[in-house]
C-alpha cells in the first residue's frame, strides 16, 4: 500500500469517525438518557471498595501509570481521568482523600485538577509523580514503597498505561490484602493485569468505563461511536475476506459471488438487529 493510498484511507476514516462521534452525540441529545450497556463485572467491585474507603478511612489509590498527555496515550489518559473523576466523587464521604499517581509529568496537572474538582477539600498534595514514562519500574517500586510506608490504600484502581511493572504494584496490593482493579493499553501490562488483579477490564474497555460510572449520557459517546465503528470494521473484514475468497475460488465470476455474499451479510446484519 503506497503512502498516498494510506493517506486517503486515513482521511476517509477520520471523517467517518467525526461523523459517528457527532451522530452519537446527537442521538444522545435526543434520547436524553443513558444507553443500556452490557454488564462489566469488574466495575461492580467498585462500590465495595468505595465503602471500605469511606468506612475505614483508607484512601483509594488511582493510578494513571505512564499515560501521558501529549503522547500516544493521551486518549487513554483522558478516559482514565474521566473514570477517576467519578470514582473520586463517589468516595467523597471518606475522611481520607484519594491518592492519584502518575509517571507522566504532563498528566500531573490533570491529576491535580481531577482531585480539585472531584474532591471537596484540599487534596492537591495527594497527586504524586514518580519518574518516568511507560514501563517505569521507578514508578511502580517507588509508589509501592511510599504507599506502604504511610497510607495503606483500601484499593488500587490502576487504569491507564502500564507495562509488566504492574506486577510489582499488584503483588504488593495482594500481599497487603488491598483490592485492585487494573486495565492497561499496553498488552504486556494487560496480560499481567488479567492474571493478577482482583478485577480486570480488558484493553479498550478502559475507554468505555466512564460510561458505566457516570450518570451523564455524554460519557457514553465514545462507547457508542466505538460500537458503531466496530460493527463497520467487522463487516468490512467480512467483505474483504469474501472478496479475496471469491477471487481465489472463481476468478471469472467473483463479482457475482461478492455481491451475493454482501447481500447475505446485510440480511444477517438486519436480522440480528431485529432479533
Amino acid at each position: 500500500m503506497d503512502a498516498t493510498t494510506l493517506q486517503v484511507i486515513s482521511i476517509a476514516f477520520v471523517l467517518m469517525t467525526a461523523l459517528l462521534v457527532y451522530t452519537a452525540r446527537y442521538q444522545q441529545g435526543r434520547r436524553g438518557r443513558r444507553r443500556n450497556w452490557r454488564r462489566m463485572p469488574a466495575l461492580e467491585r467498585l462500590p465495595g471498595w468505595t465503602a471500605r474507603s469511606i468506612e475505614a478511612d483508607k484512601p483509594l489509590h488511582c493510578a494513571f501509570g505512564g499515560a501521558a498527555i501529549g503522547g500516544e496515550h493521551t486518549a487513554a489518559a483522558c478516559a482514565s481521568a474521566e473514570f477517576f473523576h467519578h470514582v473520586i466523587a463517589g468516595a467523597q464521604q471518606s475522611d481520607s482523600a484519594p491518592i492519584v499517581s502518575t509517571a507522566a509529568a504532563t498528566t500531573l496537572p490533570l491529576a491535580q485538577d481531577n482531585l480539585r474538582r472531584a474532591w471537596e477539600g484540599n487534596a492537591l498534595s495527594r497527586a504524586q509523580w514518580y519518574p518516568t514514562g511507560e514501563r517505569s519500574l521507578a514508578y511502580a517500586a517507588g509508589l509501592t514503597a511510599a504507599l506502604q510506608d504511610s497510607d495503606e490504600p483500601a484499593a488500587h484502581l490502576l487504569a491507564g498505561s502500564f507495562g509488566p511493572e504492574l506486577a510489582l504494584l499488584l503483588d504488593a496490593a495482594d500481599r497487603r490484602g488491598q483490592g485492585s482493579l487494573a486495565v492497561s493499553d499496553q498488552l504486556e501490562g494487560q496480560a499481567v493485569a488479567y492474571a493478577m488483579a482482583d478485577a480486570v477490564l480488558i484493553g479498550e474497555e478502559l475507554f468505555a468505563a466512564p460510561a458505566y460510572v457516570s450518570e451523564e449520557g455524554r460519557a457514553g459517546i465514545d462507547a457508542a461511536a466505538l460500537d458503531a465503528w466496530r460493527g463497520l470494521l467487522i463487516l468490512f473484514l467480512a467483505l474483504l475476506l469474501l472478496f479475496n475468497l471469491a477471487r481465489a475460488l472463481a476468478p471469472q465470476n467473483w463479482l457475482i459471488i461478492v455481491l451475493g455474499g454482501a447481500a447475505l451479510l446485510l440480511l444477517a446484519a438486519v436480522l440480528s438487529r431485529r432479533g
Partner: protein, 226 residues
C-alpha cells in the same frame, strides 16, 4: 579501582533489592525501600539532566547567541517557540489551583488535542489499516493447502469475534436490565477465548523476558562471588 567500586556497589544494591523476598521484616524491609528511594531519586535526576541538556539547553544557547541556529526554522522562530513553551509550562502550574481557568484550560487543551491527534493519526496509519488489510488478505497457498486455509479463516474469525467481545451496547430486557441475545453471548464467548489465549501467551513471554534478566543478575552475583 573505579571498576571495583562499581562492581561492589552493584553487588550490595542487588542484595538490598532482593531482600524484598523476605517480606516486611523489621529493618530488613527498610533495605528494600532505601534501595528503591535511591533509585527513584537518581532516575529523577538523570531525567532532569537529559531533558535539560538535550531539549532546553539548545534553545537557551540559541537565545544567547543568535548567530547560530539550532533548528531548521532559525533563531527567531526558536525564541518564539521556546517562550511559548515556557509560558505554557508556567500556566500548567496554575492549572491545579483553578486560577485563570479559561487560560489554563486553553493551553492544556493544546497539549491534549495535539497529543490526541498524533495518537489518532498514528494508530490509523500504523495499526488499524495495515492490520486490517493483513487480516483480510488470504495466504498465497490458499485452497491448495487445507491447513493454511483453515488457519487463515480462524485468524479472521478470532479477530472479528475478539473485536466483537468489546461490544458495549446491550438491548434491555423486559425489566430494563441488559439482556444480550444468544448470538451475541456466543460470539463474545468465542472472542474471549481468543483474547485470553493471546493474553496467556503474552504473559509467558513477559515472564521469559524477566527470567532472562534474573539469570543475568544471578550471573552477575556469581561472577563477583566466585
Amino acid at each position: 579501582m573505579a571498576e571495583a567500586t562499581i562492581t561492589l556497589a552493584g553487588f550490595v544494591l542487588t542484595l538490598m533489592v532482593f531482600s524484598y523476598l523476605l517480606g516486611d521484616l523489621p529493618y530488613i524491609g527498610n533495605l528494600y525501600r532505601i534501595a528503591v528511594y535511591i533509585f527513584v531519586g537518581m532516575a529523577a535526576a538523570f531525567t532532569a539532566i537529559v531533558s535539560y541538556e538535550g531539549l532546553l539547553l539548545p534553545y537557551l544557547q540559541d537565545i544567547q547567541d543568535p548567530t547560530t541556529s539550532w533548528t531548521a526554522l532559525g533563531s527567531g522562530a526558536d525564541i518564539v517557540i521556546f517562550s511559548a513553551a515556557a509560558l505554557i509550562g508556567a500556566l500548567l502550574l496554575l492549572k491545579p489551583i483553578g486560577a485563570l481557568s479559561w487560560l489554563t484550560n486553553s493551553v492544556f487543551a493544546v497539549l491534549i488535542v495535539v497529543g490526541a491527534a498524533v495518537a489518532a493519526v498514528g494508530a490509523l496509519s500504523g495499526t488499524l489499516i495495515p492490520l486490517m488489510s493483513a487480516t483480510g488478505t488470504l495466504p498465497a497457498a490458499f485452497l491448495s493447502d487445507f491447513t493454511a486455509t483453515v488457519d487463515a479463516l480462524l485468524i479472521v474469525l478470532g479477530t472479528c469475534t475478539g473485536l466483537y467481545y468489546f461490544h458495549y451496547q446491550a438491548r434491555a430486557g423486559d425489566d430494563g436490565a441488559p439482556a444480550p441475545s444468544r448470538l451475541s453471548s456466543g460470539l463474545r464467548y468465542i472472542g474471549k477465548a481468543f483474547l485470553v489465549t493471546a493474553l496467556g501467551a503474552i504473559y509467558a513471554s513477559t515472564l521469559l523476558s524477566s527470567l532472562t534478566i534474573l539469570t543475568e543478575r544471578i550471573g552477575f552475583l556469581f561472577s563477583i562471588g566466585g
